[in-house]
C-alpha cells in the first residue's frame, strides 16, 4: 500500500505536465475550434531556442524570454496557417492538418536539433519543494500543477466574464457570423494561438529538464495532454486539470505493479477509449429520450 502511495506521488510530476498541456489544448479548442496536435511541439520549438541560446553562452533569463517569443511566433505561424487556409474546414479536417503539421515540425526539429542527442537544458526552478511519502516533490512539478490550476481559473473567468472572451466563443462557434458582426476574427484567433504558444513554451521549459531532452519526446507529450483534454470532453477546464493529474498518478501507480507496468504507456489510450465510450453512451441516452 505504501509503495502504491509512493509511486502515486511520484506520478504527480508527470500529472502536472499533462494537466497543464491539456488545459492549453482545451483553451485552443474552445476559442478557435481546433483540436491542436501541435501544442507541445510549438512549446518544444520555443524551448529549443532557449537551449540553443543557453548552450551558446547567453544568460538564462534573457534566453527564456527569447524562447517564449519564439514559441509565440511559431504559435502565431501555425495559427495563421489554420485560420487562413482551414478557417472554414470541419473540425476533423483541422485536427488532421495539425497532425500533419506535428509530423512536419518533429521532422524539421529533429534535424535542426541533432536528432536524439541530448542537450544541456538549464533548470529554471531547481530543487525540491517538499518530501511526501518518500518522494521529493520538485519545485518544478509543484509549479506545473500550480500553473495548470491558475490557467484553469483564468481561462474560466476570461471566457465567462469578459467581452473578449464572449467574442472569442462566438468566433469559435460561428466564425462567419462573428465576422459579419464586426468581430476581428483573424486578429483574435492569432492572439489566441500566440497566447497558447507562449504559455506552452514556458510550461515546457519548466518540464523539459525532467523529461528526455530531445525534440520528439517533448513534442509527443501532446498525446497524454489530449487524453486529459478528452476527460474534460474539450469543454471543462476543471475536469481536464483533474484528468491530467489523475493520468500521471495512474501511470505512476502502474509502474509499481509489475504485471501492468509494461503497458503503462498505453494508459492514455485506455482513458481516451473509456471517455469516448462513456460519452457515446450519454449520446445514446439523449437520443432515446
Amino acid at each position: 500500500m505504501n509503495a502504491l502511495l509512493t509511486s502515486a506521488v511520484a506520478g504527480l510530476t508527470a500529472g502536472g505536465t499533462y494537466a497543464l498541456l491539456g488545459v492549453c489544448a482545451v483553451f485552443t479548442y474552445r476559442l478557435v475550434a481546433v483540436v491542436n496536435f501541435t501544442g507541445a511541439a510549438i512549446g518544444t520549438a520555443g524551448t529549443f531556442v532557449l537551449i540553443a541560446l543557453f548552450e551558446a553562452g547567453f544568460p538564462v533569463w534573457p534566453s527564456v524570454l527569447a524562447g517564449v517569443a519564439a514559441g509565440t511566433g511559431v504559435g502565431v505561424l501555425i495559427g495563421f496557417i489554420m485560420t487562413r487556409w482551414f478557417g472554414e474546414a470541419s473540425a476533423s479536417t483541422k485536427a488532421a492538418v495539425t497532425v500533419a503539421l506535428l509530423v512536419g515540425i518533429i521532422a524539421v526539429g529533429l534535424r535542426l536539433t541533432g536528432g536524439q542527442h541530448p542537450h544541456n537544458m538549464p533548470e529554471l526552478f531547481p530543487g525540491s519543494a517538499f518530501r511526501m511519502a518518500g518522494v521529493e516533490v520538485t519545485i518544478a512539478s509543484v509549479l506545473t500543477i500550480g500553473l495548470a490550476a491558475l490557467f484553469t481559473v483564468l481561462a474560466d473567468l476570461f471566457l465567462n466574464n469578459t467581452k473578449v472572451g464572449l467574442n472569442l466563443r462566438a468566433l469559435a462557434d460561428r466564425p462567419m457570423a462573428a465576422e459579419l458582426l464586426g468581430i476581428r476574427v483573424q486578429l483574435l484567433s492569432l492572439l489566441v494561438w500566440g497566447m497558447t504558444g507562449a504559455f506552452t513554451t514556458f510550461a515546457l521549459m519548466i518540464i523539459a529538464p525532467q523529461r528526455s531532452p530531445n525534440f520528439m519526446t517533448l513534442s509527443l507529450l501532446v498525446v497524454p495532454a489530449l487524453a486529459a483534454a478528452l476527460v474534460g470532453l474539450f469543454r471543462s477546464f476543471w475536469r481536464t486539470l483533474a484528468g491530467g493529474i489523475a493520468l500521471g498518478v495512474i501511470e505512476g501507480m502502474a509502474s509499481s505493479v509489475d504485471s501492468i507496468s509494461q503497458y503503462r504507456s498505453a494508459i492514455p489510450f485506455l482513458v481516451v477509449l473509456a471517455v469516448l465510450l462513456w460519452s457515446q453512451r450519454e449520446a445514446r441516452w439523449d437520443e432515446a429520450r
Binding site: P209, Q210, S212, P213, S256, R264
Partner: protein, 394 residues
C-alpha cells in the same frame, strides 16, 4: 646422351612448374575486373543515423585503394540506406547481392538489417562483418558476426564489473524492451548469474522509452539497489540522472551501455555528483592519445572524418575484412570470401579487447571485452585501463 637431356628437360620443367605454383601462392588474392565489390546496409536517414559506421569503413577502403589496392584489386564499396524501413532494407540487401554482386557485407550499422536480412544472407551464402550489431538478430544469426560487443554481452560485462570491481551486492537491472529483445536481455543477466554465482536483486523489463522516470528511480532506491544497470540511450541517460538528482538519491552506482558514452551526455551531466559508469564497445574513443587508437585517429583525420565510437566499428570491420581477403589465394569471389571467413584464425586488433573470428558457429559474439569509463565533472575518464574480459559462461 638422349636420356640425360630429356631428364634435364623434365627436371627443368618440374622446377619451373613448381616455381609457377610458387608464384601462384605468393600472388595472394586476384580479381576479375580489378575490383572487389563490397556493400553495407545501414540506417542513415530515419529515427537513427548510423552512417558514421560505413563511412569509416569507406575511409579505410579508400586508403587501401589509394595505396594500390589489395593485390592490385580496388575495393568498390557501396553503402545502402535502409531508412530503418524493413521493406527498404530487404530491397537494399537484394540489390547489393544480386545486382552489385557484393562478395561480402562489411561495416553495416543498422536498426534492423540483421533482423530483416539475415535469412537472405543465409540463403545467398554471403557473410556480414557487421560494423555495429544493434538488433538481437545480429548476435544470433550464422551469417552475421559483429565487430562490436553489443548490448547483450555488454550488459553481462557491466554487471560483471559491478560485482567484481565495484563490489555491488544488490545489483538491479532496468531494461527498455524494444521489439524482440526481451529474451536476449534476460539471457544476458542469466549469463552474469552463472559467471558470478550471484542472483539479480531486481530486474524490471518495463522501463518506458519516453515518460516520467521518477517512479522507477524511487523503485530502485526503495528496493535497496546499490548498483543499477540500464540499457538506456543518450537522452534517457541524461533524463534518468537528472531525475535521480531531483530525488536526492545517493549511494547507487549507475551503469550504462555504450550508447550513453558520448560527449553530449558528458556535458549535459557536468553538474551531477552521481557515480556514472559506461561500458565501451572498443578502445575508448575519447582517448585520442592512446596507442591503440593511433592508427584509427591518423586514418580518420586523413579522410577528414570525425572521431566517434561508431567510426571505430566501421574502421575495425574494414581492417579485419582486409586481413581476411589478403589471406585468400586466387580469385576473390563470394564463395572464396565466405570460405576464408569460415576458416579464419582469430585476428587481434588493438581497438578491441577480444580477437575477432567469424567461423562456422550458428551464432556469433566474438567480442567479449569492454573498458569502463567513469563520468567525472563533465568528462569521461578511463576507469579500467585493462580490458574487462568476460570469463566463459559454464
Amino acid at each position: 646422351m638422349q636420356w640425360k637431356s630429356s631428364l634435364l628437360i623434365a627436371a627443368f620443367a618440374g622446377l619451373s612448374l613448381s616455381a609457377m605454383a610458387g608464384t601462384a601462392s605468393a600472388a595472394g588474392p586476384t580479381c576479375k575486373d580489378g575490383t572487389i565489390k563490397v556493400g553495407a546496409v545501414s540506417t542513415i536517414t530515419g529515427p537513427a543515423d548510423f552512417s558514421e559506421v560505413p563511412k569509416a569503413t569507406k575511409a579505410a577502403f579508400d586508403a587501401v585503394n589509394a595505396a594500390g589496392g589489395i593485390g592490385g584489386c580496388k575495393i568498390d564499396y557501396t553503402i545502402a540506406d535502409d531508412k530503418a524501413d524493413p521493406a527498404v532494407a530487404a530491397q537494399a540487401a537484394r540489390d547489393l547481392i544480386d545486382n552489385k554482386e557484393a562478395v561480402a557485407l562489411v561495416g553495416s550499422g543498422s536498426l534492423l538489417d540483421c533482423a530483416v536480412n539475415s535469412a537472405t544472407y543465409s540463403r545467398k551464402k554471403i557473410l556480414s562483418v557487421q560494423g555495429l550489431g544493434v538488433d538481437a538478430a545480429c548476435f544470433s544469426s550464422p551469417n552475421v558476426s559483429p565487430v562490436n560487443v553489443g548490448p547483450y554481452t555488454l550488459s553481462t560485462a557491466m554487471a560483471y564489473y559491478a560485482t567484481n570491481q565495484l563490489k555491488s551486492e544488490k545489483l538491479c537491472a532496468f531494461f527498455i524492451i524494444i521489439g524482440g529483445t526481451q529474451e536476449a536481455y534476460k539471457k544476458a543477466i542469466e549469463n552474469w548469474e552463472k559467471i558470478s554465482g550471484k542472483k539479480i536483486h531486481l530486474i524490471d523489463l518495463t522501463l518506458p522509452f519516453q515518460g516520467d522516470l521518477t517512479p522507477y528511480v524511487i523503485k530502485a532506491r526503495d528496493a535497496g539497489c546499490d548498483a543499477v544497470l540500464t540499457n538506456q540511450v543518450e537522452p534517457q541517460v541524461v533524463q534518468l540522472i537528472k531525475t535521480v538528482d531531483a530525488q536526492k538519491i545517493t549511494g547507487i552506482n549507475w551503469l550504462f551501455l555504450a550508447p550513453g558514452y558520448t560527449e553530449q551526455v558528458a556535458s549535459a551531466l557536468a553538474d551531477t555528483k552521481q557515480p556514472i559508469y559506461v561500458g565501451t564497445e572498443w578502445e575508448p574513443f575519447t582517448e585520442k592519445g592512446s596507442p591503440a587508437n593511433a592508427q584509427w585517429v591518423a586514418d580518420m583525420q586523413k579522410a577528414g572524418r570525425p572521431l566517434t565510437a561508431f567510426s571505430q566499428g566501421g574502421y575495425l570491420a574494414a581492417q579485419l575484412f582486409l586481413k581476411v581477403v589478403a589471406s585468400i589465394d586466387g580469385e576473390v569471389t563470394r564463395e572464396s570470401v565466405t570460405k576464408a571467413l569460415h576458416d579464419m584464425q582469430p585476428i587481434t586488433n588493438p581497438l578491441s579487447g577480444s580477437a575477432y573470428v567469424f567461423g562456422t558457429a550458428k551464432v556469433h559474439s566474438p567480442m567479449q571485452a569492454t573498458k569502463v569509463m567513469k563520468l567525472e565533472k563533465g568528462a569521461w575518464t578511463v576507469e579500467t585501463p585493462e580490458w574487462v574480459v568476460l570469463p566463459q559462461v559454464k
